[in-house]
Symmetry: D2
Subunit: 288 residues, 4 copies
């Protein structure tokens, strides 16, 4: 359902599974004038599991300010059920920066969808270690920064990138061909999304299309995941595949794969922006 | 999530959309000892729409008998929100009869999944207008009845079929090549599921694979829908397609299509059995 | 297989099916120094059918000029087998013009793929009945022409469009919301490709997403086809679908559908450019 | 195209790529009265690659006996182009034995398709290390043998299985939960097809559905491959996937996966039976 972005709030909850949670949360919202327009839940086990919930509600008739609503919810419901919860408002658009190297397909898909209103965020900057995509990015009126990376300046370069990223809510690696340090990653917990050009966990690491070709697989894929300190091992958000055949060489795999990458990354980013993803251990709950 | 079939109840609700429904329903259930393990909702419009809800809850700690629970819900919640609602228990297995002619693929898929526990129902009978499939059906220990249909005995034949169907909760047309009368259909509102071998609304009527071949489509499909008095026009439950090419003749389309029919029908029947389908006008809400 | 575009020739053949065709054609090419690198064939029937063939061959060692090769083939093989045949060279890039109205998704997908080398053609012009997309098109360094169409100037407008199209090999309707006259269409036999935003033959005509929503289908689709004088009835080149649900409103169907349209149209245009499509009656043979 | 099984012959060729092969082969066949009804080819590289070809031809007007045809082809064409080639006749139905443990889904899919004419072979025997599936198999009038396997009798058990397999052309492992010895495998080069219940190379080894669940992948898959001495590493024939979500537990993954396994194995076996698969190193060429 399309609902007005201006009046939509979202509540994400993780807590020990217990009877009465839906009732407690929906009561609280109803009593304060919220109209629940979407509700999804998941529990990891019938008994003793972890419980996850996502609600969308409409705010025009709320009887509390945002700040008081949050505090009241914490006191009245959150503490009682030991909830880890997050309340956000669709009108607070997330700030997003994109890191990229030379391949443009994933980046352009994001910029294009964003420019047409399909990604509810502000894209504040594109940062690359190469000059190549400046014109394409600036055509969308988005600032483009180059931070060159070499063997000798890795630490300084990362610091420079970090400085440019300040103030953003999400970092998207749209085929950024540099490995980020563990330090860097730890500063953005579940706030960096990467697109890997294989169906993970198959073909971790470099040149997955060559690996796929050498193995002779009949499907190639792409995986969008949150970045953790373990290369290509973070929680998977979305995956898709495309059929290939013996007749496709590595270059054709790459071409077919780029279309999959575009779609997978765009979906993962949108779901993150709409607060549809909850990370639990090394897995995700996606209320799509 | 797999939950015990013995303790699961399901509540389906249709009503005018209004603030407070989730709260009212979840409160009621919580207060009577039910633990909500699944909840889906849908509204047709942000304002003034129709609201649909499906809940699964666990019954071990219910403080009321089934009968009193239903009456209390009607009094406390149903009337207040003008709900059309339906409460069922997974332990009450639905009784299902299958009508079939000579093609066996859709029937065998159902019998096979059912025999392996994949369709939560009792298949009470298979009725055909031909003898051909008797051995296959009886191999599953399911009674097989033949009711021959000719130009001259249509009315009597239908009456005979009706008599055999008494006591069932659902009738599945697994490629039954007879058109049921409007009278017959009206006695089974949203309780007859048909598999049509095309992607409806394309190729209504006879011989859709020939129609698809003549048209040169690049995908063929199948559609499971509730039967209404209008041929092939009832509410669609599920659809799927398969890619075909210029190299496929009608016979090959039929073979490829049969696999699609099997899967589509099996999904639609399972969803119906699990109370996941609500009919609204000529459309369905499927909480799958 | 990636082969050099500069040395690739393609031969498309339609003729009555007869024994010996493969032998005659491959012999001819071999004897004149051509190396066959791809060969596809199709026959409509085991006996008395129509036969279709597509060959790709490499030209570096050809012993005849293009003109003499064609004449020699006609004399030595074409006449003997009553062939309708077409010989083309990948280095002769086809000239393509695109007609569009206001929706940009299909157009931009083409321009984007083209700018990255994914569509082997020269896009010579984009013609629209609205100004809206000028900036987007000119950003790709492609000339943009506006020919306004109203109730009163249909004939003149078409004449103006025709004039602009002169010299092109293919016209693509990338969501051009004007119906072309039969006269216009007859001048471009199998040289106009349209993208229709439904899974034809379902939902012919205006507003197919609304039609799909009203019908409650569980998949929406798109169809690329050659334009004939019958609206939305020309030979289908490619189709694809995307799964939708009761939760998707018309706007969401449109968004999901646009992605399908983009992919379907891009594939159809590429196949046409690579001489992979043969029209036979109202159907296509696609050697993809 | 459906062509008569009684008159169809198939020629599979692997050789160094060279100009003139299509011409030589098609000439040879034409000159001896064969009518080519299907032709596929593939080359691994534009220059210096390996060339693969599959032809189907009709035999009614052949002017040579099978034996003389083969000898003549070897002399006239095969030697000249250093071909590794294989000539077979659709009327010589391949003999197939199936090994299985307790899971019935893959086995039943094969038996069912076979009983309906969808797998052109003779299924001569089903061999299991358990009694469980006897009734199901014997219902198809196929002999069922039990060879119990324990830690202590592995060698004898394999010998017993080998004895039962004598005379067959293909062995299908339809979820046979025993690892075959390298010795055993070497006696059936590219003549054992296994279905592995993951999208290889992801999740090699035991319990792939548990592995997939633990990893949190969003698609699960199945892979049919020829068995080599390296566990789950043989040439891949076919793969497919199905979408899953956080809501699916291991048991649900298993259920969804079984449908994928059924389809993937059935396709791979059919392609093998129709001589559509050529093994090249650790990869396959599949002319499907």
């Amino acid at each position: 359902m399309t609902t007005s972005v201006n009046t939509t709030a979202r509540l994400l909850i993780t807590c020990p599974d217990k009877s009465g949670i839906v009732s407690a949360v929906s009561n609280f919202l109803y009593n304060h004038g919220a109209n629940i327009t979407a509700l999804d839940q998941h529990s990891t086990a019938p008994e003793g599991g972890t419980y996850f919930m996502r609600l969308e509600f409409q705010t025009p008739h709320l009887d509390l300010s945002r700040q008081v609503l949050a505090q009241t919810f914490a006191d009245a419901v959150g503490k009682r059920y030991q909830m880890d919860w997050h309340l956000s408002y669709a009108s607070d658009r997330k700030k997003v920066a994109v890191l990229v190297s030379k391949y443009d397909h994933a980046l352009l898909e994001l910029l294009w969808r964003w420019s047409r209103g399909g990604l509810p965020c502000d894209i504040t900057a594109v940062i690359s270690n190469h000059e190549d995509l400046r014109e394409a990015v600036e055509g969308f009126k988005v600032p483009f920064h180059v931070v060159k990376v070499s063997k000798d300046n890795k630490v300084e370069a990362e610091a420079q990138v970090q400085a440019l990223l300040q103030g953003n809510d999400l970092v998207v690696l749209a085929r950024y061909m540099q490995i980020l340090s563990a330090d860097f990653v730890h500063q953005w917990p579940h706030k960096i999304i990467n697109i890997h050009h294989s169906f993970l966990p198959a073909f971790v690491g470099a040149n997955p299309y060559q690996q796929a070709y050498d193995k002779g697989v009949k499907l190639i894929g792409a995986t969008a995941h949150y970045v953790t300190a373990d290369l290509d091992q973070g929680p998977i958000i979305e995956q898709a595949v495309e059929r290939v055949s013996h007749g496709d060489d590595v270059e054709t795999l790459r071409e077919l794969g780029e279309d999959v990458e575009r779609n997978v990354l765009a979906r993962a980013v949108r779901w993150h922006l709409e607060d549809r993803v909850i990370v639990h251990g090394n897995k995700t709950i996606v209320f799509s």
